[in-house]
């Protein structure tokens, strides 16, 4: 076998290696001038990218405000911070580009940023705040420190004069210190992200367990241990004290109930304090609690957890009281549910209770648990709590042997609109099930889903009817897609009943045999108002109480509305208006708008900039009446030096700018290629004498005045093209006008634009204006937004795909050549329209 002539193998590699070597050698260490040009371009690109990112964030914040997007307060604060930094970088870069011509922006941005920080609900970590507070020192205004539950209890004690258990709160400052000392915030934040990105259920469950395990295993800082045991010893006064440790999260029990989402530890001794503390805190990261908070747009930090340590009671009976009937809050009535001993099983939904109702439509069960005196005492407390805490309350209470009535907790009662009771049943068929207590009135229809374990909730379908043995708060995470609830046991006074009312899900509790009658998959209709369940989907009769909109009151939304006023509104709309200045900026959006506008003013004059040592500018060798020097800021022209030896266009004459010249084929910049292709359109006969017949006398005069290309070259000097692979800034002063095209043509429609600015001209004013009218008319037909002031024209085209922009750039190339001498041709008022029509019709030989 004869070896083949090695053209593509070793020889090819050798050639490539040689070219690489030549190429490297040609790359002298970049000069400061080149660094400067690249930097200007980099800063300019950063401004545009920052502007895009800011507008995107503003749109997202508006979405949240409109209630169309879900968010947490933490994620919101991160978004706002991002927007601020984008705007800062924009301001900084504009000032660096313009020689600090807009220094006033710094002061304005700083003021806005300080205002935003002052309004942010997460600002400041409350570093110097007490880690433990005695209940007698607590009022409602300490809610951020001790959580809502304990703050309300302190308020009720001090202002409503009711008896509450003695105790103290381990504050959110202690919680923060504990979380920080053990690096737990990061884990919690990760969990939030997971929920926010709608991670799958098992991943969320696993992550929750991990965070909880980490909390349970983390040491409580020494200082806090001392403070907690000190407070405990002070309360015990030497006795064998036991306390109940209850969650008291910030925001809990106020805007949204959080009913039963968190852990309570009963009968805690001194030695068990820290374990119980960790157990309560860990419950903040239970799956149900996380999802509940997420539904209510609350983040982890906002729900910073305080823990109440209250003397353990030994009641003869205890229970829950509604200070109003939940289904008729305007009637003067009190609903009391009681059980013997401790009420924890009652509120957890695991036990039925005896229920009394006072008022016009009283109900007295056959029970001796409560005496008439107890009932009137509870009623009196009910009204005092209402006036002290504002509005109907849901109260946990206890009566110790021979002791007063003790209020353990009081939270806002979520009442429903009263639904008119229909006279006729919703079906003539006999019900499958009748009886039970209405936890939330209304009618819901769907297929039965039996829930025995928490895992059963993972696959809960939309509009399913939840049927379960117990009424448990863990159902909260599927309540938003649940058609109705029916349980065997449970009380309307339980946590789940509160949640059902909050979500407006018709619910029937204490039905006794629901789980054995309502079998999985059965289509049923639940009339919770009249405590009946029918076979079949009687959808037409479906009605639920108007669901209150908890989101509207959520603290995250309130905070957002306040802060958003400093971020999203745009008041600086008209750059020509004298108020268009830094001091007028009322929002981050205004600042971004200002910077964006001023940036293009800078960029439009890049052609005027003294580029200093332009060894790196490459003169374009092309048959056009223009001298074009090309400055590459990244991938805009074929690698310098690679073609040096066989460069047909290079020569001493071509290299007047210092570096070898380049040909059109060396241009890699997509927008510049398009522009050149338009300029080089063979139909434009700028270099040939026009036939006299098509012109007339004035045209000939004009042509003579316009002169030949060689003369045109002398006017105004070189044109500059600053290019990257997808960017072009082209400025030309050749001819009698000064025009700048600035464009980016990438694959992201939102980043693409063409900006065009055109000014001046050598002809008299009237002719110049007519030329501007021609260009305006043509560009408007090409979808540009055009503004003119005298003989200045600014046109913008944004948000089109690359192919469209490239087609427009070709048109602009043609237009550029066609209009070069046009003011000499336009002699009557009608001419601009005539030429515009001719141009758009492709009759380029008319120019």
């Amino acid at each position: 076998m004869t070896p083949r002539p090695d053209s593509g193998g070793t020889g090819g590699r050798l050639k490539a290696a040689w070219q690489a070597l030549v190429s490297r050698a040609a790359q002298a260490p970049p000069t400061a001038d080149m660094a400067r040009i690249r930097l200007m371009y980099e800063r300019f690109r950063e401004i545009l990218a920052g502007n895009d990112a800011t507008l995107q964030l503003i749109a997202e914040i508006d979405e949240c405000l409109a209630g169309r997007a879900v968010f947490t307060l933490e994620s919101l604060v991160r978004q706002i911070h991002k927007a601020e930094m984008h705007v800062f970088v924009m301001v900084k870069n504009l000032n660096l580009l313009s020689g600090n011509a807009h220094g006033g922006l710094y002061a304005r941005l700083r003021e806005l940023s300080a205002e935003i920080a002052a309004m942010s609900p997460l600002s400041g970590d409350a570093p110097e705040q007490a880690e433990v507070m005695a209940l007698e020192d607590i009022r409602l205004d300490r809610a951020l420190l001790v959580g809502s539950k304990i703050a309300r209890l302190g308020e009720a004690r001090a202002r409503a004069g009711v008896t509450v258990p003695e105790g103290f709160a381990i504050t959110t400052a202690a919680f923060s210190a504990f979380m920080s000392a053990n690096g737990l915030w990061e884990r919690a934040a990760h969990l939030e992200d997971l929920v926010q990105t709608r991670g799958d259920a098992s991943a969320v469950a696993l992550a929750c367990q991990e965070v909880q395990r980490a909390i349970l295993g983390a040491p409580v800082p020494e200082r806090i241990v001392g403070t907690i045991t000190g407070a405990f010893d002070h309360l015990a006064e030497g006795t064998d004290l036991r306390v109940a440790m209850r969650s008291s999260a910030v925001g809990e029990d106020t805007y949204v109930s959080h009913a039963g989402q968190y852990h309570t530890e009963l009968g805690v001794r001194r030695e068990g304090l820290l374990d119980a503390y960790r157990a309560v805190i860990a419950s903040a990261y239970g799956r149900a609690a996380i999802l509940y908070r997420f539904e209510h747009k609350m983040g982890t930090r906002e729900t910073a957890m305080a823990v109440g340590c209250l003397r353990m009671l030994d009641p003869r009976c205890s229970g829950v009281m509604f200070t109003r009937r939940p289904d008729a809050p305007d009637i003067d009535a009190v609903v009391v549910a009681a059980v013997p001993g401790l009420a924890s099983a009652l509120v957890a939904g695991e036990q039925d209770a005896h229920v009394w109702i006072t008022g016009d439509d009283p109900r007295t069960p056959a029970s001796t648990l409560l005496t008439p005196d107890d009932l009137s005492g509870l009623s009196a407390i009910a009204r005092r709590l209402e006036s002290c805490l504002g509005g109907p309350q849901e109260v946990e209470w206890a009566i110790e042997r021979a002791g007063p009535i003790v209020v353990v907790q009081s939270r806002a009662l979520i009442a429903t609109q009263r639904t008119p009771v229909q006279d006729t049943p919703i079906s003539d068929e006999p019900p499958l099930l009748a009886g039970g207590l209405t936890a939330c009135p209304g009618v819901g229809a769907g297929r039965v889903v039996q829930v025995a374990r928490e895992d059963d909730l993972d696959a809960f379908p939309d509009r399913g009817v939840l049927v379960a043995r117990q009424a448990l708060p863990m159902y909260s995470r599927i309540l938003s897609r649940c058609a109705a609830i029916v349980t065997d046991i449970g009380s309307p006074a339980g946590h789940m009943a509160s949640l059902a009312r909050e979500y407006g899900v018709p619910a029937l509790v204490g039905c006794g045999e629901a789980t054995s009658v309502l079998l999985a998959g059965m289509p049923v209709t639940v009339d919770a108002t009249r405590a009946q369940v029918f076979s079949g989907l009687l959808a037409a009769s479906e009605s639920a109480p108007a669901r209150p909109a908890p989101a509207a009151d959520a603290p995250a939304v309130q905070a957002l509305r306040r802060i958003a006023r400093l971020i999203t509104p745009l008041s600086l709309t008209d750059p020509a208006n004298p108020v268009f200045r830094p001091a007028s900026c009322q929002s981050l959006h205004d600042i971004a708008r200002y910077v964006h506008e001023k940036t293009f003013e800078v960029v439009f004059h890049w052609g005027d900039v003294n580029w200093g040592d332009t060894r790196h500018a490459r003169r374009l060798q092309v048959h056009l009446p223009l001298t074009i020097d090309v400055i590459d800021v990244g991938g805009g022209i074929r690698d310098a030096g690679a073609r040096r030896d066989d460069e047909p266009h290079a020569g001493p004459a071509a290299g007047s700018a210092g570096a070898p010249g380049i040909g059109v084929e060396d241009v890699l910049s997509v927008p510049f290629r398009a522009l050149l292709s338009g300029m080089l359109d063979a139909r434009i006969r700028w270099d040939r004498p026009r036939p006299l017949s098509a012109r007339g006398f004035l045209a000939v005069v004009g042509e003579r005045m316009a002169g030949l290309p060689g003369e045109a070259l002398g006017v105004g000097g070189a044109s500059y093209a600053i290019v990257s692979d997808r960017y072009l800034n082209f400025s030309t002063k050749a001819g009698y006008h000064f025009a700048t095209i600035d464009t980016y043509c990438g694959h992201s429609v939102n980043k693409n634009y063409i900006h065009f600015r055109f000014a001046g001209g050598a002809a008299d004013g009237a002719r110049r204006e007519r030329r501007v009218r021609l260009i305006a008319s043509v560009l408007a037909s090409l979808d540009f937004k055009v503004q003119t002031r005298g003989d200045l024209l600014v046109a913008r085209l944004g948000q089109f795909d690359q192919a469209t922009l490239l087609a427009r750039l070709e048109d602009m190339g043609r237009l550029c050549m066609c209009t070069r001498q046009l003011d000499m041709l336009m002699d009557t008022e009608g001419s601009p329209e005539f030429f515009a029509r001719a141009f758009l019709a492709g009759q380029l030989d008319r120019f």
Binding site: F88, K92, L96
Partner: protein
Amino acid sequence: MADLRLLLVDDEPDFLEPLCTRLTRRRVACATAASGEEALQALADSRFDCAVVDVKMPGMDGLELLRRIRRDHPGTPVVLLTGHASVEMGVQGMELGAFDYLLKPVDLDELLDVVRRAAEQPREPGLP
């Protein structure tokens, strides 16, 4: 031969050393300082074309160091570099006369362009 002499100031060696190595490969001579005090000592001992300073450092922070360099070594431009961005720090830095304020992670080419430009015109902070 190195064409630039840089002083890199950062309390995190994990950031400082790789950056220094990469810059040296690009023919930039680097000295490093782990604190503001070390940086001032280095500036007193020899001349640098530019100082690249981390904003958040224990003890003397980057803004304080910037203030002192502007006062005692006005010919040495300062480029601030930070991973913990805040508007207040940024605005302060620029008002105190930083040549630029860059966010970590920083692109090496961009950093080189900035320091080259800074080294060329030390007396005109803020001008590109």
